[in-house]
Amino acid sequence: MSQPRSYLRLVSAGETAKARVRGYGSIMVSNEAKRQTETRELAACLLAVGQHQDRTAFHRLFIHFAPRIKAYGARLGSTQTQAEELAQDTMVKIWRKAHLFDPAKSAPSTWVFRIARNQRIDSFRREHHPEFDPNDPCFIPDSETPADMLLEQAEAEDNLARVIKTLPEEQKNLLHMAFFQDMSHSDIAQQESLPLGTVKSRLRLALAKLRKQLDGPSGPLAEESAE
């Protein structure tokens, strides 16, 4: 059992900070705290795999993510075998790319989602998902570099889950169709017998609500692209 040392430090530092920030008593530290601890733990595992190919940490990642990725593949209409392969291929990519994971930039689940998404586009659709390259000389960097916000990220993710649950059913459905059914907006419109404009505006509404949770109401793009 070679649990990386940084992992323990990260978790306990996070816990202390959280207790300080929130002033939570031990009774209140419930599911939410568990989720946040889990997020930090998964981040630490990705770092351990990236830094020294830690197999114990990788096993932990497998236990957490493989069943989810497999479910993701199955939702996208693949066979059991294909879904299993998607989980395996994605886990191999995670192993190979773990050194590129940066906990200040993305939550572990977001990072894994991107890899799983790209892998399924590759395997199921025989296409690529073109992406920008932050090391490209043409790349225009962000004006402000985000602080190290592992803790905030864990909390933001938790908020996001809660807000997704409270979205109106119609918006939640559209999000699921977009993410899990590989349907274009016009496919969705056709299946749901809705005008395309309605599908687009519902998706935008859902996004606005979710972003409000992450940015606060005065986020940089809050009013933009109303149309």
């Binding site: 993305s106 977001t110 998404r117 296409e127 998902h129 933001a156 993710e157 997704i164 998706l203």
Partner: protein, 218 residues
């Protein structure tokens, strides 16, 4: 450089969720390289994807799956880690991922004549039915007038053009659908170079342009 014309959020959602096909996604990713604002939006949408993945009803994986995975990993070549991106010689004009699709930066591109002083380069993607191409329009000249049966996304990379919606400069994206009959005109001073993606054959108004179209198959 400030970007005035962004990618609509519903297209960003389609890009991030993975439901947008490759040629459209190429325009989105090229815009993202030049637009921190839209990158911030996509990062939120990716977070939604990550959260939905966390919340998904899980499927059992079998007992041997991890052992099989580790055997596959042990079979990987020793130094098989994803390399950091290669350094490019400056000055670089076309951003990633576009440059990888074209195979070279602007100076080495082989343009093909399209007529009326306009040149183009078709781009191959895994996307069937949606066509991507680079377009070069001489300074001050109109892009041959056309309407659209389908959708079109155009991102400016060098120079500028204007339409009734305003001026489009480097990084700006023009979104057109079947309802728009538009006539972009390249700004004076320098040739305008764009990446244009469309899912319908363009309907050129002039007979000459239509004849050209028939032969080059755009």
């Amino acid at each position: 450089m400030t970007i005035a014309h962004h990618i609509p959020e519903d297209i960003l959602i389609a890009y991030s969720s993975g439901s947008l096909s490759e040629a459209w996604s190429l325009v989105v990713a090229t815009h993202l390289a030049l637009c921190p604002d839209c990158r911030a939006t996509v990062s939120v949408i990716d977070d939604v994807g990550g959260t939905l993945l966390e919340m998904i009803e899980q499927t059992e994986t079998d007992e041997q799956a991890f052992d099989r995975l580790m055997r596959a990993i042990d079979d990987l070549p020793m130094d098989d880690v994803q390399p950091a991106s290669a350094k490019r010689s400056v000055p670089a004009i076309l951003p990633e991922p576009l440059i990888s699709y074209l195979g070279s930066d602007l100076h080495a591109l082989k343009w093909r004549r399209l007529g009326k002083g306009v040149f183009h380069i078709p781009i191959t993607t895994g996307d069937t039915g949606v066509k991507a191409r680079m377009l070069k329009v001489p300074a001050g000249r109109p892009v041959p007038m056309h309407g659209h049966k389908g959708n079109e996304l155009t991102i400016v990379l060098v120079g500028a053009f204007h339409t009734h919606q305003g001026m489009f400069e480097r990084g700006d994206v023009e979104v057109a659908d079947g309802s728009i009959e538009h006539m972009p005109v390249a700004a004076p001073g320098e040739d305008c170079i764009c990446l244009a993606v469309t899912d319908a054959p363009l309907r050129f108004r002039s007979i000459a342009a239509r004849v050209v179209q028939k032969f080059i198959g755009i």
